[in-house]
Symmetry: C2
Subunit: 341 residues, 2 copies
């Protein structure tokens, strides 16, 4: 059916091993022979069978990329960057979606293990133990999770959260809410810890609401609870939840940022398009994707075990404004009106 190395060998009058070497070790074959083989190969439309090659070399030239939710706008830029970067290095990428389910995650790693040279686990929800277990079956690089001894790429969301909280404190807010993300998320713990510490250090209150699924609906559903706390500012686990909250508050006629300020995290594509435009912590997702691919492919099969931390940056837009203790509290009304348009 398909044209194999044997067909090329026959057609060009050499042994199959010579054909093989023409592709995998060109310097070992006479230039003249090589070009002849190359010509017939081209003419016959020969393409090496990667599966067969993998069987004997043990290297598949494939990698796996496992994310919680492909449709969550946080991931596509990461996936795209990782795929492009991997392909430039002649690797193909399996993409899989766990739907936020840790057990699916584990199954997926095992199913993919034999078919890839390594797996990128993005924002895994599994326990550290499970991950430790799995790394023995296949090289793993985790993104947005810190596990000692495991190569990782993390975005310094703790720093982002601190900046966000300081921003809110600076605006005169004294009672904040953290709208927590899913349990099992390292990012969630980091944000919570960083935000809590920063608020406490300044003598402010931080109420944690959650856990929640990291989707718009969850953000919207929490509106009542948020209002119930009496807080004047909210930091959400991600932009999706922040935007959901924004919508729900709007529906209730609650002014943002007049009555409540809202900060998201991620800076997804449309954070700057909703009204009010969302103040948020930008994550370098594309860079993270590339860095993770590099880490995975870097060490032949040894254990390069570094941890790369990428900076995040607070982007101040219109969803945050002066709080009740603002030195410029008198200006609140005016500023809010201005920000509204």
């Amino acid at each position: 059916m398909a044209v194999t190395i044997r067909d090329v060998a026959k057609a060009s009058g050499v042994h199959i091993s010579t054909v093989s070497r023409t592709f995998s070790a060109p310097h070992l074959v006479n230039p003249e022979t090589r070009s002849r083989v190359l010509a017939t190969a081209e003419q016959l439309g020969y393409r090496p069978n990667r599966a067969a090659r993998a069987l004997i070399t043990g290297r598949t030239h494939n990698i796996g990329l496992i994310v919680a939710d492909i449709a969550n706008p946080f991931f596509p830029p990461l996936i795209k960057a990782a795929e492009t970067h991997a392909r430039r290095r002649d690797y193909h990428v399996f993409v899989a979606d766990t739907d936020e389910d840790p057990s699916v995650e584990a199954d997926l790693v095992q199913a993919l293990a034999k078919q890839v040279d390594g797996i990128l686990l993005c924002s895994p929800r599994m326990s550290d133990d499970q991950i430790e277990q799995l790394r023995r079956e296949v090289p793993l690089v985790v993104v947005n999770r810190m596990i000692t001894g495991l190569p990782a790429v993390v975005m310094d969301v703790g720093q982002g959260a601190r900046e966000a909280v300081r921003h809110l404190l600076g605006l005169g807010h004294r009672h904040l809410v953290y709208l927590a993300g899913p349990r099992g998320s390292w990012t969630n713990r980091e944000i919570r810890r960083a935000a809590g510490a920063t608020a406490r250090a300044a003598g402010a209150d931080l109420t944690v609401l959650g856990p929640h699924q990291p989707v718009e609906e969850a953000g919207a559903a929490s509106a009542e609870a948020v209002l119930g706390t009496g807080a004047t500012a909210v930091l959400a686990y991600n932009d999706l939840m922040a935007i959901g909250l924004l919508q729900a508050l709007q529906d209730r006629g609650v002014a943002v940022p007049g009555r409540i300020s809202v900060v998201g995290i991620d800076d997804i594509a449309y954070a700057g398009l909703v009204r009010p435009r969302l103040t948020t912590v930008a994550n370098p997702t594309a860079a993270a994707g590339r860095a993770a691919v590099d880490m995975l492919l870097q060490h032949g099969d040894g254990g390069a075990t570094g941890q790369v931390t990428l900076q995040t940056t607070l982007i101040i837009r219109n969803s945050t404004g002066p709080g009740p203790h603002s030195p410029a509290a008198a200006l609140t009304a005016e500023v809010a009106a201005h920000v509204k348009e």
Copy 2:
């Protein structure tokens, strides 16, 4: 290194063929033997090597999914649905991004060909000839493209465009602009044809501006040209461009829908979140992804060659309003004011 069928055979005292059959043809092995083998396999942590299996069976249990741009919000829901659906059928999915480049598309198909049982080509930009060529190397199903003899899943964007244009005509618009998408896009041709025919039949004008890359920047960049035409309504190739245009018009102080109505296509996640909320044609992308996977896997390797057409629906929001010839033109101001909030 890894545990193979041979290890399991040794450990359970049977021949490797028996182990093989335990997994691939259980009814051929004595229940007692089977459970013994299963037990040792489980204990040893044996996982069949799909590459080796593929080598002999010719079926890889992988499929390829090629899209123009993973980060374009149109695709992630499709990718997610396809991946989930495929996995339920025990298939893994390679995802690749062509960055809207037709030559990358062709390379990708060839590179993936040996490693998959079939490829889903989503919104391909290649010529029909090229695709005809490639289908001889690997089973292909195209999404959003109609090629005679090739299995396809298309969303009936022509119908959607007609509905959108009728909606605009009904509002009293007589001069429309179609903001065209990329060359090579079947969808683009369909929309253009349908919109043009519908407008012409009603004695209205339709000016085509383009081609454009299907991104926000292109939509924004076309604002001047759009205004220059003197048209009062715009249909954009996709929501991204429509939203870009919306932003650019807003920056220029042009009222939407007061001065110009804008309609997008796709109904991406945030079409309903921008202000004004975008009137758009919703595409059933998730259903398309599932249908395409079904078509690909359905026929063993024969040539199921149907074409599935999925319905689209116009979603009327706030970016469209009465035009200069509206029977209710007198109400324009009031309606616009209302819509604005």
